[in-house]
């Protein structure tokens, strides 16, 4: 394998579910992403760090970020480039909209086939869905082995094409060896991603997708991108990845959202107490006499 690995890191721009407002959901039950602050999915950053560590070891390796989303999802590609990734691809097309995990995995797998990597690394799960399904489903679509819940990559043997991975499970640690190519999903317990690198920020701060360049309508960008092609982030649609339309988006999704309910708590008659000595002593005595405690 020539002392280098070709790595694709799957990353997702996610709504920051810790700060959700009332207009977060559309009438059809899908997420109104436009109304929310968008962040780099946390575990995808752990995944990026694992890729960067491989590149530290084998500097001729390449790291390409693959993300699917609206135009603004290019932000995660830029952020990854600031931290050491070589570039990225934005999968964007109206036809991808409303995809469940299976349709998403199909789309990502189509793009990965075109990229032909040795190793695919992703975060275990995204914080907007918490499903952890896309990694294994991408692996299955590509007919590749998978290692989930990875905490570290302990060894790579480029001769035999084998990678040794430590997995964090509920009750312990399992070390496995996987034959490449393959898919690894990385746990939050893995090392945090390194911060931005000032040199990389200088180099890539003008990296833009074609749509972003057009939006800005500045000749400056056009000229710059013509001269420095590494600044151009490719955008791929359904046709670019030879995807079958019936397998994309809402139509390609076996699962449907039947109903969305906002959270309404059934209010019990809570007895309100204060933190005063009298209240606390009264409560503790009550609990003891009812044999709830003691």
């Amino acid at each position: 394998m020539n002392e280098a690995l070709k790595i694709v890191v799957l990353a997702k721009q996610v709504p920051d579910t810790r700060n959700v407002g009332k207009d977060a959901m559309k009438a059809d039950g899908t997420v109104n992403r436009a109304a929310l602050p968008a962040i780099f999915n946390p575990e995808d950053l752990n995944a990026l760090e694992q890729a960067l560590r491989i590149k530290d070891r084998y500097p001729r390796s390449t790291i390409t970020i693959l993300t699917m989303g609206p135009f603004r999802a290019a932000e995660v590609i830029r952020e990854a480039m600031f931290r050491g990734a070589d570039g990225g691809v934005l999968l964007t097309d109206r036809k991808f909209a409303g995809a469940d995990t299976l349709a998403t995995s199909y789309t990502l797998a189509c793009a990965i086939q075109k990229m032909n990597p040795d190793l695919i690394i992703a975060g275990r799960q995204a914080i907007d869905g918490d499903t952890a399904q896309v990694g294994p489903q991408v692996a299955e679509k590509l007919g590749l082995p998978q290692v989930t819940y990875a905490e570290s990559i302990d060894a790579i043997d480029l001769q035999s094409g084998e990678i040794t991975v430590r997995r964090r499970l509920e009750r312990g640690i399992e070390t496995v060896v996987m034959k490449l190519p393959g898919v690894i999903t990385v746990n939050a317990s893995a090392p945090e991603c390194r911060p931005r690198n000032a040199k990389m920020v200088m180099k890539y701060k003008h990296a833009r997708t074609v749509s972003e360049v057009q939006q800005q309508q500045e000749d400056y960008y056009m000229a710059l991108h013509k001269e420095r092609c590494y600044l151009c982030i490719p955008e791929w649609g359904a046709a670019d990845v030879n995807a079958e339309e019936a397998s994309l988006g809402l139509n390609g999704s076996p699962t449907k959202v039947k109903k969305i309910e906002n959270i309404v708590f059934q209010t019990k008659e809570a007895k309100r107490l204060t933190g005063t000595d009298a209240d606390i002593e009264g409560l503790v005595k009550e609990l003891i006499s009812s044999h709830t405690i003691g």
């Binding site: 579910t17 810790r18 959700v20 977060a24 959901m25 039950g29 995990t101 299976l102 914080i127 907007d128 869905g129 918490d130 499903t131 952890a132 399904q133 990694g135 294994p136 489903q137 299955e140 679509k141 007919g143 082995p145 998978q146 290692v147 989930t148 819940y149 997995r167 499970l169 509920e170 009750r171 399992e174 070390t175 496995v176 060896v177 996987m178 034959k179 939050a188 999704s253 076996p254 699962t255 449907k256 959202v257 109903k259 969305i260 906002n262 959270i263 708590f265 019990k268 809570a270 007895k271 309100r272 107490l273 933190g275 209240d279 606390i280 409560l283 503790v284 003891i288 709830t292 405690i293």
Partner: protein, 339 residues
């Protein structure tokens, strides 16, 4: 045909609690649907495993027993599950939302092109009418789960693809043995026909498994802390209270994410579901993701400085106050008043 299948996790000859919980739930669904409950046991040295499974309602047990099938590895297990499902055509397939189930089920769902819903907190049977086409569906599996950071509850269905697949966390469903279990019919799976060389692309070279040290699921009293405890040191107060009450310490996801407590202590949709007789929620705001894992508690006491915190709405006693003063007082008055 078209029965409910439960993928059963087996470690050292013992069926995991989560699988027995799923069998219990499957019985309930099967009686609504008028179908049978089948279990799929894949591993090694499984003689007699059907007895454990029949006790919880498995009527038919498919056993794939072979050295290469234990410990669990994704690819061989996925190949066997897919092979059996293609032949048996279950209408519903349930997996534990464990490291095993969450690794295996998506792989199977992708191979069978069948929808999968992760971490369901409730499963029901119901009908559906497609708004656009007017097509009606009878007896679908409603896969109900909090979504989107716990800000909404979604009901997911798989109208057209089978099996309808779902994962459920340990402790979410109740585990109840059948009153008078009948012996299960055992079907030996000729599993080798499903396996190819590529199914062995991952080798396990080491396993360091520990006994579970923390058992919050079985604790009668839980003292749980949230982000409002402020720090790992702040959690020290909870351990003091837990010690005098004979309780276990639990934590919200926010507290675990912040590093205040170990992941094993996490209660909620992405952690453990508990039903203690007393749950003391300290500095926990009470988001649905958390309350989904504890709202079956017999009694809830909340301690929070914010009188508007949602936890106050499901609490029996809502103490508005600072945990740092309230908890020491609870310890003091407990010591004074208990014998």
């Amino acid at each position: 045909m078209n029965n409910i299948f439960v993928y059963c996790e087996i470690e050292e000859g013992k069926v995991a609690d989560v699988s027995l919980e799923l069998l219990t739930k499957a019985r309930d669904l099967a009686s609504t649907l008028g179908c049978r409950v089948e279990a799929l046991a894949i591993g090694h040295n499984l003689q007699g495993i059907e007895k454990q499974l029949a006790t919880y309602g498995a009527e038919i047990v498919h056993v794939a027993d072979g050295e290469e099938l234990a410990p669990f590895r994704t690819l061989p297990h996925a190949a066997v599950v897919c092979g059996v499902f293609k032949e048996e055509k279950p209408q519903i397939a349930l997996f534990g939302a464990t490291c095993t189930g969450r690794d295996l089920a998506p792989r199977v769902s992708s191979a069978l092109h069948s929808g999968l819903t992760a971490d369901c907190t409730s499963l029901e049977i119901g009908d559906h009418k497609e708004a656009k086409t007017g097509k009606e569906y009878k007896d679908l599996l409603y896969q109900i789960r909090p979504a989107f950071g716990g800000n909404i509850i979604a009901t997911i269905i798989n109208p057209d693809c089978r099996p309808q697949m779902a994962t459920v966390r340990e402790g979410v469903m109740k585990m109840e043995p059948v009153a008078n279990p009948s012996p299960a019919e055992v079907k030996t799976v000729d599993y080798k026909k499903y396996l190819g060389d590529t199914d062995f692309a991952v080798k396990i070279v080491a396993r360091e498994m520990e006994e579970r040290k923390i058992n919050i699921k079985g604790a009668p009293i839980i003292v749980a802390g949230g982000y409002g405890m402020g720090s790992k040191e702040g959690f020290g107060l909870l351990y003091q209270l837990a010690e005098v009450l004979g309780a276990e310490v639990g934590a919200s996801r926010a507290a675990v994410d912040a590093g205040f407590a170990e992941h094993e202590r996490q209660i909620g949709q992405t952690g453990v579901t508990v039903r203690p007789k007393l749950y003391i929620a300290c500095g926990i705001s009470g988001q649905i993701q958390h309350t989904a894992g504890m709202d079956g508690s017999s009694m809830v006491i909340s301690i929070n400085t914010d009188p508007e915190a949602p936890i106050g709405k499901i609490a029996d006693y809502a103490i508005v106050g600072d945990v740092n003063t309230v908890i020491p007082k609870m310890i003091k008055y407990y010591k004074q008043n208990s014998k």
